[in-house]
Amino acid sequence: MIVNKSIGYSGILVAILVFSLILREKIGFLINPEYFWYILVSAIISCIFAIIYIFPSKHSVVEKPTWQQIVLCLGFLCVVVSGILVPVKPLGVKNVAFTTKSTFEKPKSSLSQLVKSPEVITSLGLVDWQNLLNSEKNATKYNGQKAEFNGFVSGYIENGFELSSYQVSCCVVDASLSTISMVSKDKPPLDSWQKVNGNFQISGKKPNLSISFIIDSRIEINTPLSPYSSKK
């Protein structure tokens, strides 16, 4: 068997890129959180096979790499080094101009049966709420519903601020933005993550549906490790 170590090292470097992003807890900034295990398993498989490939055996003939293979290996190395050194930032206010506003109408099937509850609903995120309210024929039935969710501050309005969250199908490339207006006396800093507690104020009908959230309390939180919702 002919072994070309530079190719083996290239395979290992691709796996190292994934491992380094996982270890730095940055992978959630790049992909749909549901993909995490698939990516980890893919990297482990590729790494194991690459190690087996370069591991010497008595039947192996080690081939001298061509300059293209060395350049390729160095290219992968550069990406890995940049993956370790360059800060990976999650999508935030600065990316709003590059992404579409979410017009996702259909909520997850489990949400379509949600009934108004006197309890504070904490199980739904900002994106879930927006999808649910936009898909409901009579969204006003959720008027006054207490809820708690988080998001980042994406802008200011006259009587408060806008809280947003991105949702992704595959990775950040297809991210779309969901935003809900927050009625609040104070205005937290842009791009800061906030956990808000309050109730919905909904009026009008589609397409003039107006959704706002009256804040009872809010706390600033750290950026979550997986800041995006899955579109699936």
Partner: protein, 309 residues
Amino acid sequence: MSDQFDRFYINFLGIILGAMPFLVFGVIIATIIQMYSKPSWYSWILNQNTVLSHVLIAMFGLVIPVCECGNIPVIKKLLKKGFSFSHAITFLLAAPIVNPITIITTYSAFSNYPALVWFRILGGFAIAFTIGMIFSKFKGTDEFLVHDIKKTHDHHSHTYHHNHEVKQPIITRVRDFASHYTLEFVETMKYLFFGAFLASVFQVVIPQTVLSSIGQNPVLSLFVLILFAFIISVCSNVDAFIGLSFIQNFSVNSILGFLVFGPMIDIKTIVMLKNIFTSKFIAILTCLCLSGTVLLVSVYYICNIFGIV
């Protein structure tokens, strides 16, 4: 500038990571084909008459559910294993659409638009079949293959089979598998990295919001979404959910164009296809896919006008 770099950088890494599981799956399938498949397994399909064999190959994705990144190493191996050029092209174009994962995700995203789901699956099938049939009439299609593939395609890799007919110890077989896997993985990754780089540059240069704002015109919106599919280079297994996010701003016709053209041709795929085909052929293929998509969307539009769908 710094914001644009950040955006470029996370897009670049995001595309690579998002494609990786599908690509690894495709490379594993390709390695299994390379090491264990025998021409007798699929020769009965290839030996059917031209029409039937292309129909069957267009449905091959139901058995080998690979997306557009994963199927490139697969067709490379199939070509080396004796698949004809037209059969390989049919598989290349059909597999990302006519496969169970894509069908399920499209249905779950567009269950309110069943006609769109059918048009995507059957339309993708029809385009792949038609383009395959066109190339089956061509002579000298081997000229469209890069030298490396052409050489092995000519010889059907007979020598390889002879090597593997002797029962090898398990450790040698694992080593062989690892060797084939790693060579194919690194080769495909090289193109994925470059494709992801280009797609990320275009994403920053042409923001999605610009595409959305010019997408209100019914005809223009089709081309805008086709261009968008071409630029974002997202996997066919999940693109239905992206298509769904356009439902309020774009016509259903243009979303159909997005769902049919994207899995066949995009920036990332084009760069990866350069590993197998010549640039001239890739340009011809892109034009044929574009024409097929526009034709399909026109049929859908007409059916809509007459209330058929």
